[in-house]
Structures are given as C-alpha cells and as structure tokens.
Amino acid sequence: MDHQPLQKLKLKVHGTHCASCEVLVERAWKKVPGIEKVHVTHASGKAEVWYTHKPNMHELERLIQKDGYRVVPWHERHAAHAGAHKNSITDYLEIGGAFLVLVSLYYILKQFDLLPTFAVTEHMSYGVVFLIGLVAAASTCIAVVGGLLLAVAEKYSELHPELTGFQKFKPHIYFNTGRVVGYTMFGAAVGALGSVISLSATANGYLIIAVSIVMLILGFQLLHLFPWMRRLTPKMPKFISHKIHDLSGKDSKAAPFTLGALTFFLPCGFTQALQLYVLATGDWQVGALTMFVFSLGTLPALVSLSAITSFAKGAFQRYFLKFAGVLVVLLAVFNINNGLTLAGLNVHIPNFGSSGIAQAETTPIVDGKQVVRMLVNGYTYTPNRFTVTEGIPVEWQIDGRNAVGCGQVLVIPTTGLTKYLSKDAVTIVRFTPEKTGEIPFNCSMGMMSRGSGFTVVPNTTGAVADVDAGDPEIIPECDPNLTTCLPKPEAQKFALTVTNEQGFYPNTFTVKKDVPIEVDIDAKVPLGGCMSVMVVAPYDVTLPLKLGKNTLAFTPTKTGTVYATCSMGIEMLQFNVVDS
C-alpha cells in the first residue's frame, strides 16, 4: 500500500430517498480499488468519497446506474436533476419553438373558429355530456387536472427512474380510475343533496390563482428554467408528496386513486357547470350518470397524457416535455389572469393568446357621452379593452346575440353591475366612470376574453358630461299623464330558501299573467360559479345572488312556462304563468 494521503471527492447522487440507498451506494463504491471510504446522506444526496486513486466518474455512475441512481459533481447539483442537464442554446431554441408553435396554433384555431365553445344547457343528452368531457379535458380542465397529473408523474419518475414504462403508467391507471369513481360518487351526492359544492366568485378567483402559481412553478421546472426555483420547492403540498412517496414502498393504489377522485373539486369551468347542472336536476341517478359520462369523456385526453409521460423515450420525450412545460406555463398565465378578474382585480399580464383586441384609442366624447361598441361572440369580447375618460357617461352598446353559456351574463365585479345580454337586440349598459383606473368586466364565471376591461383616464380635454345621458336607467316609474299609470296591482309574493340540503326550495310556482311577481330568495349558503347570478331571460332580469336576502321581481306578460336559470342556462326555478 502506498501512503498517499486520502483525498476527498464530493458528489451528488440523485435518487437517494432512504437509508437503504445510502448503504447501497456506499457498498457499491467501496468495492472500487482506490476508494477507502464512502459516506452518503440520502436526504441531500450528498456523497463523500475518500480515495487514494481518483475514481472515474463514469465508473462510479455505472456501478449504481442499474439501481436507478445518477451522479453529478456536487457543485453542479442544482443545474441538474434526475438526469436533467443545463439548458443549452439548443434547449432555449426548442423552448422558443414550442412557444411559437403553441401560440400560432391557438391563433389559427381561433381564426377558423375551431376553438370549442360548448354551452351547458338544460336537458343535455349523455352524448353531449361526453362531448363536453372530451372538450373539457382537451382545453381548460387539462390546465388543472393535467397539470396535477404531470406533477405526479414527474415526481413519481424522479423517485423511480428505474421503472419501466408500464410500471410508471400504473399509478395513472389508479388516478384515472379514481377520477371516474370519484366523479360518479360525488355526482350522485350532489344530485341527491341538491347542494352545491362551489365557492364564491372571489374565493374561486383566489383558488385559481393559487393553483396557477403551482402550475407556473411546475412548468418552469419542466423546462429547467430558473434553476433557483428548484430550491423553492415543495412543488406540491407535503401531504400529496408524502402519499406519492408512500408509493415507493407499498406500491399503494390509494394515493393516486384519492388524488384522482379529489379532482372533482378543482376549479374548472366545465366541471363546475356540470355540477350545477346535476344540482338543478336534484336526482342522484342523473347526477351519478352525468358525472360518470363526463369523466369518461375526459379520459382520452388524460390517458394520452399519462401514456406519453410514462412511455416516451429519448428525443420524443425531450420535445414532449418542452411542449408540456410551455403549455403548462401558458395555461397558468391564462388562469392567473382569469382568477384575477374573478377576484375583481385586473392586472395586465402580457396577454399573448388573449382573444381580445384592445380598442386602439381613447373613446371620443360626442355630445357629452362616450359610445363604445362591443361584440360578444361565443366566449369572446371584441374588442375587449376600452379606454374611456373619467366623469363622462359611457354608453356601452353590447351585441350579445351570439353569446353562449355564461357569456350571456356580463358582470363588472367592482361596481356589482350584472347584465343579461339580450338574444334579440343590442344591449345598452350606461355608467359613468367616477375615478381613473381599471374597471374589469367578464362573464359571471370569468370564462371570457382575459384581461377585459375599461381603462379610465383623467379628463384632460375639459369635455363636459351630458347631464341627460348620465342616469338614463332611471325611467320614471309612472307618468301620471299616461294611462300606463294605473294603480299597481298587488304583487304576487313568494319566498324560497337556498340550503345545502334542499337546494332551491320551493322551486316551482304558479303565477298570474300581468301581475308583478316578487320572490324573496333567502340564500343560506354562498352561491358560486354560474349560480351566483339568476337570470330570467325573457324578461331581461338578472339578479346577483348574495348570501342572505335577495328579491327577484318581474311581471310575466305571457302564459306558459318561464324559467329562472343560472348564468349558464341551468334551470333554477320554474314559473307556470296562467291567465288571471
């Protein structure tokens, strides 16, 4: 033996997750001639090697590679993870390419009007529900559910780099089975209870923002952008990681299964709309079937995603991960904006992909008022941004004849204005911006063009308001000179309550024609999503439902059946109008 002093080498071993890993790596390396001592810490993956002859890195890696570990020099540990690499120029070019492809694809689809615009309506066939599922999974819902799935998949493969494609795919099977079973069961529960499991618009907004931030970090991690972000982990709530970690030992089926089932509660427009639909039906069988069919519809897209993440190899996997990363980041940005609007804040996140076009200039002031025109087509406002002057009345002409779903109800969260857009004519909304700043608007579920709003600028031209145009909403209720001012018939009064147990109860009323109706609605539970607004379309009535007392008032002028619906057209109340 020569008596060279021992030298130390510090390495990072990726994939060590328990004490056995330490022993395993130590044992493997101690057999290498020239290595005197090895010490591995599984938590940090730090390996210290004392040697007399410097060992070959590749040799060290080869010895433990078959067990699924990877080795990098300690000082390079952050740049790489689980066999990843520092991004090279090629990588950035690829990321940029993926970005361009996805954005162009979006615009092309938009241009040809191929983007799905499905509205949830009453009396849907299960075929339609299935289609909605297909579309949902390929669009908005993949943002949250798919993001979660990608996160789980990534975490799982990181823990088990040695697994084969099928072994990696197994948890996805449980995840998706969990989803289908969970949706069916929760669907039945919602149908049976007639209770709504949803949040207020604002809470929904914040939840979306929170989920999006997690997605954003995840997206950056997939792309290996901002290596420091890795140190920002936990990527997922601890309890999830722990459950996923448990998989390592027991091959547990429960964790991904539970996770899948719980996706029922994730904020996704389609899922929520269907939950409300089920709620309105108040039938557990319909509820179970509807959600079952919906979750089946979401399967193809999600299973494809699972399959690709599990089986992809080599260059294809590299490209796929780049696309997935860019997509997750884009969707996260969309979602954040969406959430901000719902929370009543309009912050300008650079809006690539926003379907909206801003009106170019400040709206001219003509006759003391500012006239802006907006077209609502499907789920898009055109233009969706206006610049108006402070203190001057705005006449907002909205052509909502082609609006669908929740697009039929316009909400300005900051002022509390809620307006049902007429199906037959241009709807006019008048308001006067009182102070400079932002006035965001969207539909009651925040599903329309992101970042829509008014920018109110100071009045620098000295223009004056046309006093008459200011408050035209106040129409003299009764003109004594006209015959319309007959003594008002006594209103037909009704009362109902909204509870978790019974939903809207009672929900069917027989009323007389030409006699005003007043329904006191006592909401004992907060109503969220599209349920936050009640609409009586034929009489142009919109009523934002807040917790507590609300009054719905209108006068039926035709006999037959009139429905009060949520903003997406799901029936909430039924009025049978009979001749008085």
């Binding site: 056995s20 044992r27 390592s248």
Partner: protein, 72 residues
C-alpha cells in the same frame, strides 16, 4: 435448495437491491430474490450456508429484521 425467509423493514427498491447485494457476497448463495413489499425473500443456496452470518450481515446493512424459518 431453496428457502424462503422473511425480512422485516424492507420498504423500497433500494432495500431489495441492497439485500440482494449482501446475498451476493455469500458464495453459498446462488440466487436471492427479495419482494420488498412483503419482505419475502427466496434464496437458492447450498447446505453450507451459515444462516446466522447471513442474518447478521443483512441486519447490519440497515434497519432490517431477518426472521428465519423454524426448520433452519
């Protein structure tokens, strides 16, 4: 001959690899397969195998408890 023993404390693939590696140091052992989920370990060995030594080696490699069958 083939013997099945139970090792408590195996919880992951690393444990499996580790124990199989320990076994491979015994020239009396021809093959060793650990099912880390159940701890069941199938060992193909000759009569000369020193069970106590194997038990000692495995238990010193980690937090394991080797349960030898009564007939050994």
């Amino acid at each position: 001959m083939k013997t099945t023993i139970t090792i408590r404390g195996t919880h992951c693939k690393a444990c499996k690899a580790l124990i199989e590696d320990v076994c491979s140091d015994f020239k009396e052992i021809a093959s060793c397969t650990v099912d880390f989920a159940t701890g069941k370990t199938d060992i193909e060995h000759t009569d000369e195998l020193n069970w106590d030594e194997l038990k000692r080696e495995i238990e010193s490699a980690g937090d394991y408890k080797v349960e030898l069958a009564h007939n050994i």
